[in-house]
């Protein structure tokens, strides 16, 4: 029969082992793997467009991203430009582009008959119909 003190020590080390597994996983995922600290603010990409946007006007949205990624870009635009209403597609007078590949902007403009009004950061631009 083990003494209560021994049992407590065993409990403690089991608990420490279980907890360490989770904490070390966190340290690995959130400290080691991401590398040097660099802040990524979504607003930074869209800040140069904000001064060009008339209040209350519905905006369009285009992207070159495929599938689910297109949805991700769309919600980034909604988030950055909130509370403005943004509809997917190039039907509005002013259209916000959020591209995966910033170099694809001329191709996207040519495809929908658009021209650049203002450029944001990393693939973001405000477009209008030619």
């Amino acid at each position: 029969m083990r003494e209560p003190g021994e049992r407590s020590t065993a409990w403690f080390w089991v608990l420490v082992a279980v907890a360490s597994a989770g904490i070390l996983r966190d340290v690995s995922v959130y400290f080691w793997k991401p590398g040097a600290l660099r802040t990524l603010r979504i607003d930074d990409r869209f800040a140069p467009l904000l001064t060009q946007l008339p209040a209350g006007e519905r905006l369009g949205f285009v992207t070159d991203a495929p599938g689910d990624l297109a949805g991700s870009h769309y919600f980034d635009v909604l988030y950055a430009l909130a509370p403005r209403a943004v509809d997917p597609g190039p039907d509005a007078r002013l259209i916000v582009a959020d591209l995966q590949d910033a170099a694809a902007l001329p191709k996207v403009c040519a495809r929908f008959g658009l021209r650049v009004v203002a450029r944001g950061g990393a693939g973001a631009a405000l477009l209008e119909h030619e």
Partner: protein, 412 residues
Amino acid sequence: MIALLVVAALGAGWAVARSLGGALVVGFALSGAAFAAQLLLFGWTGPESDVLLLVLGALWWWRGRFAAASRCASGAPGAARATSPLPRWWATAATALAGIVVAALFVRHSLRYPDGGWDARAIWNLRARALFGAPHDLALVFSAAVPHGDYPPLLPALIAHGWFALHSRWLPVQAIVAAVFAAGGALVLFRRSREAALLLLATPLFLTLAWNQYADLKLAMLLLVALTLSHEGRLEAAGLAAGLAALTKNEGLFEALALAAAVVWVRGWRDLWRFCAGAAAPIAFLAWFKLRLAPQNDLAAIFSFRRAFLHAPLRVPRVLAAFLKQVVSFEGFGAAAAAAAVVWMARFARRPRRTLPIRFAGLSLALVFCIYVFTPQPLEWHLRGSVDRVLFQIWPCLLFATSLLWEPNAPN
């Protein structure tokens, strides 16, 4: 204005929960709920709700003192303190160390991604920005074109309240709200059981859902506070916390109902009415929101009883397999869920099972199981996208129940 917000939230939270952790969780949830009510019902964006909270908090505190004096006079026992299988300072030191590491990682990752994770940007933070930018255009804020427009407004309103109080859309408010709920919930569990708090901190989803600013963590902590208050016999306060959980996310309503069922099962109908009295105000506001403002829920829109019951028997083994997979999911629960499962298997038969937390653990697990068995969405898609988060909503409560099983001095 921001000082008034913080003082009102902490004051009202302390009056209701009477612990630092509970005050953080319930207080700031009350602040969000009261601000949502004043904005959506009256269109006000000022500090009126904070003043109201201060008054209501003072009344609740006075009522609590009166009730405590009555309990002392009648010789009724107070809330039982947890006992621990470990020397107290070992567990305290280990938990504090884990807390410091997790807090440092939270700060670092919140600096990296201050906007939060995908769902937070697309749902709660987006709605908070809309409420701040167009507080009087509710059709735009709760538009059906925006995903999950039917989600209850507590969290977006709390963030927007912070911005209104600061007169600026200061980005860190979102992360600070997440930190307040995470720290508050960990402190609530720490007060009850150091070991359970250590396992919560060592759960990778705890940190993930904190930095990515999802509402699941806030809901989980409100449920934990509701459960601990129910366990202590403070049913009105527990009902209020459960009602606030229902105002945080749609699943919160069902989990609050599961807690109500556990209350009536263990403590009887009289205590259920006390619980319901506490929950009445947030639930009434939720009903108003759902009937007047919220677009139709996407699951409710496509739900069919016939199809759900037809598919249910075939889904049971698949949902069971998905749940078991989560128990050993290292990226979700680390080694904590597996350890808790071992404790349940080893101790469940030898410990009292009629306690409220253990009954709630069973009911809430069954509820989450049923959500997936009857979901109108494609099962694999729905499981893949949410089962870890939905299970995390009840995870702190499961840890609380687990702490009752490993107490060495619990009566058999």
